[in-house]
């Protein structure tokens, strides 16, 4: 099984992003997803900047995939998408049917927001050039087992196994709203929250994380203990979502787990987390093993 590093979901300063990926070059991940998938206004790095990082990571032996937005409305966003799809070197992760159209038959990754819930949809993406698909966050191991049985040849399966789950996207910006700012004058407040803004219930329970126009799970999903089951199910790639701190420890723990080695207890394992979706329950639950 390969490890992948999903796209950075948050808005980090360009220099922070560059430093982060300079470290990633030495980590035991085989696949790195680069680029912006949440908000078109986050432009600290332009496409050519991302391509420089992509070249460096490829040089370091990583397979690089360029991700794309999960919500596109404006023509400017679509022309940017076209430039990503036409980059000439790297495969693209499609998170909207617009991307599938513009990829135009070239090999691609069907991202988690393309809504792949059944084998007919898997076959469709394969027909349009998909070489890998990422399971929707809310599906269970039982459903995955059925999909694996019907999966077309040449299509790898990737599962989001660690990180704050991207649960929804909106036209409105919840970070701007929390600052009483209109979305079109958001002052790029997301830059102040490298892991988003916690949203709690009135009785102080962590519920969601606000990340601009995106809502994430309040707790990260953590399927470290389920790695052996992933292997049995024939999962090809385990996706880890970058965090502001401690991502390397997460990578090393999953690297040990996929090699069947003892996993050292890292601090992230002491934080609250969830695994309900995988076990067929509400996503926020911690299912008994």
């Amino acid at each position: 099984m390969k490890l992948s590093l999903g796209p950075i979901q948050y808005f980090w300063p360009g220099q922070t992003v560059r430093e982060f990926y300079a470290e990633v070059a030495d980590w035991p991940v085989e696949i790195v997803y680069l680029g912006e998938m949440v908000c078109a206004k986050r432009r600290q790095l332009r496409l050519q900047d991302w391509l420089v990082i992509a070249d460096e990571l490829e040089e370091a032996g990583k397979e690089v995939i360029l991700t794309s937005l999960a919500l596109m409305e404006a023509d400017s966003e679509l022309s940017h998408l076209r430039r990503i799809c036409d980059n000439g070197d790297f495969k693209v992760e499609a998170n909207d049917m617009a991307a599938v159209r513009l990829i135009n038959g070239r090999p691609f990754v069907a991202g988690p927001h393309l809504n792949t819930y059944n084998a007919a949809t898997l076959a469709l993406w394969r027909e349009f050039g998909a070489v890998r698909w990422v399971m929707p966050l809310e599906l269970s191991a039982a459903t995955l087992a059925q999909l694996q049985a019907e999966r077309p040849a040449g299509l790898q399966t990737e599962v989001f196994v660690y990180g704050h789950m991207p649960l929804s996207f909106s036209a409105r910006c919840f970070t701007a709203r929390a600052h009483d700012l209109p979305k079109d004058r958001c002052e790029f407040r997301c830059l102040d929250y490298p892991e988003g803004m916690p949203l709690k219930t009135q009785d102080s329970e962590d519920l969601f994380v606000i990340n601009g126009i995106q809502m994430q799970s309040g707790h990260p999903v953590n399927l470290l203990a389920e790695v052996p089951q992933m292997r049995e199910l024939g999962v090809d790639v385990l996706r880890l979502s970058p965090r502001a701190e401690g991502t390397e420890a997460i990578v090393r723990a999953f690297d040990a787990a996929r090699h069947g080695q003892p996993v050292e207890l890292a601090s992230f394992q002491n934080e609250p987390w969830c695994n309900g979706y995988w076990h067929g329950e509400a996503g926020m639950k911690v299912a008994a093993r």
């Binding site: 991307a99 809504n115 459903t143 036209a171 409105r172 979305k183 219930t201 809502m215 996503g283």
Partner: protein, 337 residues
């Protein structure tokens, strides 16, 4: 390039009496669903079996209204045969169109029932011209329902470039997330619009009377707390009050309804083919009254777009039925992009 010239009014029916109320009050089309998880309003006591659909079709067609079937959830492998059987039944029942979201199911329908008119559901998350063009080229969709996330300018751009008719939501509950890309409900309850056809399902709701006031919970999670005398609304999870950075407020959205009466002339001018009323879970009385107001507004606007003004009576009537007794244009009023 809209196929139809006159703006169509598309109204909800969760039951035969609601369908009759919609048709009698001037709906051009009525949409309904089978009584199971194949549609996104899979609520107890709602929807139609086959015999009821035949009666619905006969009633509507006799009065010149169309009947559309919503089959707009995302089937998983265990349900696949049931969903494709539902598509087959829809074709046999000779309904006017089927509203679908799942790419695999759309492919199935296009292949096995080439004459069946397909609409892309709002749950299909098509928010731009390339996504719509893809669904037109690959599945042959003839109409698209836009998610409630686009500004008026963006709707205009989509209509201008769309190869198919464009339908927008006109009145009813306001979904603030991109429909089809929201798993907040299953995060709390295990059931979402995509998987089960429900959002914030009633069976997961619990009301509590506490010293701090009345509270609503969904899947055990506190959604809102009401002061004495404060009206308590249904705990749709994105419309609760939560704490962010020390402030308790409607962090996602106030409980309010979408209402496009103010911009009806603009929607008509840019060529929106159909306006949809939300609410298959609503009563026949609700459906009848909202249909009546929307019918009057569309007719008045078509007759005299420049002189059109929403009548205070219409607005009062709609607000009485609106969530939180107030309304908004949602994303449509945004000037940005």
């Amino acid at each position: 390039m809209p196929e139809t010239q006159r703006m169509q009014l598309v109204c909800p029916a969760g039951s035969l009496p609601a369908l009759k109320a919609a048709v009698d009050n001037g709906a051009d089309a009525v949409y309904l669903g089978f009584r199971d998880a194949t549609n996104a309003r899979n609520f107890p006591g709602l929807n139609f079996d086959e015999a009821e659909i035949v009666r619905a079709r006969e009633y509507a067609h006799a009065r010149g209204a169309k009947v559309l079937l919503a089959l707009n959830t995302y089937p998983q492998p265990t349900g696949w045969a049931r969903w494709t059987a539902a598509v087959d039944r829809a074709a046999d029942l000779e309904l006017d169109a089927v509203i679908m979201a799942d790419p695999g199911l759309l492919r199935y329908a296009a292949k096995h029932h080439p004459d069946l008119r397909l609409h892309l559901s709002v749950q299909g998350s098509a928010t731009n011209r390339h996504a719509i063009a893809f669904c037109h080229e690959v599945f042959g969709i003839r109409q698209v329902v836009l998610p409630r996330v686009l500004s008026l300018n963006q709707v205009r751009a989509v209509v201008e470039s769309s190869p198919v008719d464009v339908e927008v939501f006109g009145f009813g509950s306001l979904c603030i997330m991109v429909e089809g890309r929201c798993a907040l409900s299953s995060y709390l309850t295990g059931e979402s619009p995509n998987t089960c056809g429900v959002c914030s399902p009633a069976k997961a709701v619990r009301w509590e009377e506490t010293p701090a006031g009345r509270q609503s919970r969904l899947g055990g999670v506190l959604i809102d707390r009401y002061r004495e005398g404060e009206a308590a609304g249904y705990p749709t999870l994105c419309k609760g009050r939560f704490e962010v950075a020390g402030n308790v407020f409607y962090a996602m959205e106030e409980p309010t309804s979408l209402n496009i009466l103010d911009i009806l002339p603009a929607l008509m001018k840019i060529g929106v083919a159909a306006v949809k009323v939300e609410g298959r879970q609503r009563s026949p009385a609700y459906v009848g009254q909202v249909t009546k107001v929307m019918r009057a507004a569309i007719d008045a606007c078509a007759a005299d777009p420049d002189g059109y003004r929403p009548s205070p009576e219409w607005l009062a009537n709609l607000n009485r039925h609106a969530e939180g007794h107030s309304h908004t244009l949602g994303a449509l009023h945004r000037s940005w992009q």
